[in-house]
């Protein structure tokens, strides 16, 4: 039986969008955000990105942390300058930052590898990005397990910062170092050679969904551009 400990969240439509299209749209969104000076135009872009982020299934803790950080940033800018500047800068910051989590939360390592291979990125870069993509959740999971092991031993790290170094950082560093070695071996035993030709099990295809997303993106970016540059 392959029961699931926790219901696997259903993957939304963004998962099915061509990863290359997602990379291109993310880059366009970030570049546009740098150029925007109009509050309405920036607001529209951020609204679009927030809608996408809602479908990506980000945890409420991250939403809360992000909201607090944004609030502090806005308050600080307001104190240093004025309210219009604070609101515009906060929205621009959001527009610059949001494409990252949207892409990472809706793209699998395998899709990322395929996309990078498809654009003929050098193999060492594909390997590095693939490992980083795989590595970050592993570090997060290892840290969580070590924190739990501390609690099981009667040590609540949140209340004893003095224990962070011996209780969390030292075992985590051991795990990360040994993981880095082990994963290299694991990758080679699975026949991965960055310089060798690989086939594509699921070649990237342009689907109707991609066309729809591209049209919607052109419409939104068009509206943003109109608001910014028509006056």
């Amino acid at each position: 039986m392959l029961a699931n400990p926790v219901n696997a969240p259903k993957r939304g439509w963004l998962w099915r969008v061509n990863p290359l299209l997602k990379i291109v749209l993310s880059m366009v969104a970030v570049s546009t955000a740098f150029a925007l000076q109009d509050l309405a135009a920036t607001g529209l872009l951020v609204a679009g990105l927030l809608v996408l982020l809602l479908t990506a299934g980000m945890s409420w803790r991250v939403w809360l942390g992000g909201a607090i950080a944004l609030f502090l940033f806005t308050a600080l800018t307001w104190l240093l300058r004025d309210w219009p500047a604070a609101s515009l800068n906060s929205l621009r910051l959001l527009a610059i930052l949001l494409p990252g989590p949207i892409f990472s939360l809706t793209t699998s390592p395998a899709d990322l590898t395929r996309a990078l291979q498809a654009v003929k990125l050098p193999s060492f870069l594909v390997l590095s990005l693939m490992l980083v993509w795989r590595f970050l959740p592993v570090v997060q999971r290892e840290a969580q397990r070590i924190i739990e092991a501390n609690q099981l031993r009667g040590v609540d790290l949140s209340r004893r910062p003095g224990q962070w170094f011996p209780g969390l950082f030292v075992p985590l560093i051991f795990r990360i170092v040994s993981y880095a070695d082990e994963v290299t071996v694991g990758l080679e035993t699975r026949s991965y050679d960055p310089s060798a030709r690989r086939s594509l099990g699921q070649p990237l295809r342009w689907r109707r969904l991609d066309t729809a997303v591209a049209i919607a993106a052109v419409a939104i970016f068009g509206a943003v551009g109109y608001l910014q540059w028509s006056q």
Binding site: S108, M130, R190
Partner: protein, 447 residues
């Protein structure tokens, strides 16, 4: 018939070691042959597989002498990746062989690396998923699989690649009975199709049913036949009587979505209960519920008559010890001695436990420098030193040879004889027998 693998006079000495771990090993693996290599923990079984796969000495520093040939070709100068095109390897820690995030993508990953023609990949992937009963879960996230499910998946990935030789390091460690038998028959089929299979495994009873030869490593040499059985056998622990005692642990209608409700538990002092169930049936999750790491969606847990609702994990930990599947996560001290001799633990108790676990000679070593089997023993000792009333053990017998397992069982028996209660998961039937454990089914079978 030309051998698939031919090793002659192989010796391996770890860097900074004076004595070799393997001496003068000669082994021939013919097509269609299944060979089992047994031996005590740390005897060099995994090192032998590493030498054949090319991991040693490339990634594990040391000196290798002798010859290794694959299908008639000298492969000593080949790297791990080159060898992997002819030799499929399953590592002990399968987590390090996972590189994608869904079941389907993981199988495809290996086939892509072998440059398998694109049009053949879907059929090969479907076939292997079907063989391993994973078809319905092809889009499932790997992060949500249990240890046994991950092992099953990586075995499927390795078998899908179809190399002429297979090296499997403890492939049955986390597998439930059904999956173990499925794998046995699949390996038999693969051998019949001409693949040569070398297995390192402690569960001899299981693998000996399909293997053509059994070998064992003893004092750095490879010998024919299984290893000698241990001289001192554990007497099964006596059944406790608890007519007048109140339970240590009681659960009532415990539920965690999406598992089926767990059977109600009542554990008394001195009692041992083994949780049995298929991979992914929720055994580890039940232990996590009891330790407070996970909150149930319904039902109640009582420890010594008090509900654990609202209690912090550190408070529950005063009564409940938990030995995790991966011991590396719960070793924090600078030395083995300090790991056991925590605040409140008398020196005499710490020394007794270290002696019982055969770790006294390593008292001044750093815990992370120990072998995996020694780490498991130490993690158990560190938990029992705190004298919990209830001890939860999650698959701690994996990778333990008979003697090492014996040391752990002896300590656990001492614990239960002194009134401690054990709740454990293990796929090894010998453990239940030695601890005289009551067996409780978890999952669909336990309904």
């Amino acid at each position: 018939m030309e051998p698939v693998i031919q090793i002659k006079n192989l010796s391996f000495t770890y860097a900074n070691a004076t004595q070799p771990v393997l001496s003068d090993i000669s082994l021939t693996l013919k097509p269609g042959e299944i060979v089992l290599v047994a031996g005590t923990t740390g005897s060099g079984k995994s090192t032998l597989l590493s030498c054949i796969a090319g991991i040693a000495p490339t990634h594990i520093g040391g000196t290798l002498t002798g010859t290794i040939r694959c299908q008639g070709q000298d492969i000593e100068t080949w790297n791990v990746c080159q060898r992997s095109h002819r030799i499929g390897t399953l590592l002990q820690n399968v987590e390090t062989q996972i590189f994608t995030d869904t079941v389907y993508d993981e199988v495809v990953f290996g086939l892509e690396n072998l440059a398998t023609p694109t049009q053949r990949i879907p059929a090969l992937t479907q076939a292997i998923l079907q063989e391993f009963d994973l078809q319905a879960h092809r889009d499932r996230s790997i992060a949500r699989l249990s240890a046994g499910q991950k092992q099953r998946l990586i075995i499927a990935c390795v078998l899908a690649m179809g190399q002429p030789a297979l090296l499997l390091d403890e492939p049955f460690a986390y597998l439930d009975q059904t999956t173990s038998h499925r794998l046995l028959s699949l390996l038999k089929q693969r051998a019949a199709q001409g693949q040569a299979i070398l297995i390192v495994e402690h569960r001899l009873d299981l693998v000996q049913t399909i293997c053509d030869r059994t070998l064992h490593i003893h004092q750095t040499h490879l010998h024919p036949g299984p290893p000698a059985p241990p001289t001192a056998s554990t007497k099964p622990a006596p059944k406790p009587t608890h007519a007048s005692l109140s339970p240590i642990l009681q659960t009532d209608s415990l539920t965690l979505h999406p598992y089926p409700p767990y059977l109600d538990l009542a554990l008394y002092p001195g009692e041992t209960v083994l949780l049995k169930g298929d991979n992914g049936s929720g055994k580890t999750t039940l232990l996590r519920l009891i330790s407070g790491l996970v909150k149930p969606t319904a039902g109640s847990i009582q420890l010594l008559g008090c509900s654990i609702v609202g209690k912090r994990i550190v408070e529950i930990a005063q009564m409940v010890g938990f030995v995790l599947q991966n011991p590396s996560h719960q070793l924090f001290a600078d030395t083995v001695q300090q790991e056991v001799q925590q605040p409140g633990v008398p020196v005499s108790t710490a020394e007794r436990i270290l002696a019982q676990l055969n770790l006294k000679e390593r008292a001044e070593q750093h815990p992370q420098s120990l072998s995996q089997g020694q780490k498991r023993r130490l993690a158990l000792g560190a938990v029992l030193a705190r004298q919990p009333r209830l001890c939860l053990l999650d698959e701690i017998t994996v990778g333990q040879d008979t003697q090492s397992l014996q040391l752990m069982l002896n300590l656990l028996q001492t614990f239960t004889r002194s009134g401690g209660t054990l709740l454990l998961t293990s796929h090894d039937p010998a453990v239940a027998k030695a601890l005289n454990a009551k067996i409780m089914e978890v999952g669909e079978k336990g309904k």
